[in-house]
Symmetry: C2
Subunit: 223 residues, 2 copies
Amino acid sequence: MFQNLVNSPLFKGLSAEEVDGLFLPLKYQVKHFRSGEMLAQAGEEVDKAMLLLEGRLQGEMVDFAGNSLKIEEMDPPQMVAAAFLFGPASTFPVFLSAKSDGKILILPKKEFTTMLCLEPRVMVNYLNIVSGKAQFLTGKITFLSLKTIREKVAYYLMQRMRNGENGVVSMDVTQTSLADLFGVTRPSLTRTILDMEKQGILAWSRDSVTILSYNTLNEILGR
Amino acid sequence: MFQNLVNSPLFKGLSAEEVDGLFLPLKYQVKHFRSGEMLAQAGEEVDKAMLLLEGRLQGEMVDFAGNSLKIEEMDPPQMVAAAFLFGPASTFPVFLSAKSDGKILILPKKEFTTMLCLEPRVMVNYLNIVSGKAQFLTGKITFLSLKTIREKVAYYLMQRMRNGENGVVSMDVTQTSLADLFGVTRPSLTRTILDMEKQGILAWSRDSVTILSYNTLNEILGR
DNA sequence: AATTAAATGTAACATTTGTTACATTTAAAA
DNA sequence: TTTTAAATGTAACAAATGTTACATTTAATT
């Protein structure tokens, strides 16, 4: 019935038959949407679980200054605003709009709760999703609390290292979009990068960055 | 047995007997701690549910620059690091230390999961807690993404207004600690406040702030 | 009332970042 | 290949914030 959903994190570990069986006693509806359509306003109450079946959505947080700080895009199959169905302020934190045509499955909160009780595996999956969101946001906060552009660059590169790639980080984004991600202006980012190059900390080319002084990067981040 | 726990958000709606009954089939342990003791390092794995029974804890996030950005203090009865028991990176996000002597109840993750399945009300409570954390963090991010000190002051005062208090916000914190909360230096905050006073936007006294131009505050926040 | 500590006001200067504008390079499209 | 658009380099200047140091006020303590 909902083959898509089987691949969703929410139904991880369940077979297609088990998922179908799970929905049998539940009341739900499927809604189609069109590209560009606004699906939810920030502040609107969340009283239904929304499972994206097809199409692409975009949640963007708009601060008071009107700058849109992109938080995430969503591909199916995935639950929408998973961390905002429960909790004291169950309202949308972002403006949710469609980037393409598609459809979502809508399940009233009560039905969703019933489903969690019926199937412990789904409950654990849901807990993993919501907890994951909280952890993602914690990471975002860590990043946002870095004050200088130097620190942001250092942190970003450290994150991207991981694998014993011998000090080379492959770059799949432009400085322009990186500046956007960092919430700084592009000339300022470029200036900082060039400074760091002049100081022999790194070498920045179009498609990769070579870290020349690991130590200095660590010093920038306070060891 | 654990009278404290009955008043915990996790067991909201349950009687003392029900809580005791819930723990009967579970394996748990109670650990005592002393003031100043470090209970968990950031990065350490979370594989046990920790319920604070007595004493006061403090979770502080230390960024790379060594600045401690206080996130929250905890009073009993409450679950510790609730949003980090599940999820992909189940590691402590903060340094957890004791601000007084006390004790915590420790429940292995498996036992905790069993408990959630046994009692749907606890499951919903837990979902409310974890979702609430995610929502709290979202709010934190909104604040951190404000760029200027002016914006932070404006946002802070708007948050504190609410009740039809006729433009008067009572201040229970000093400028010094407010600067700390904002992540800026104290002289800079003072300068900004004085500027705003000179511009007739507000009047800041020790124990209260009077908002003189609501409109200007909104303009600062981009309407 | 006198003393002390904390909070707040103030100022000069350094540092960082934003703003704007334009040049140059690189990649993609015609 | 030529053309075009995007990305990047550069620079002068403005604005915001940090740094440091000290004065002044306020509240708490003795």
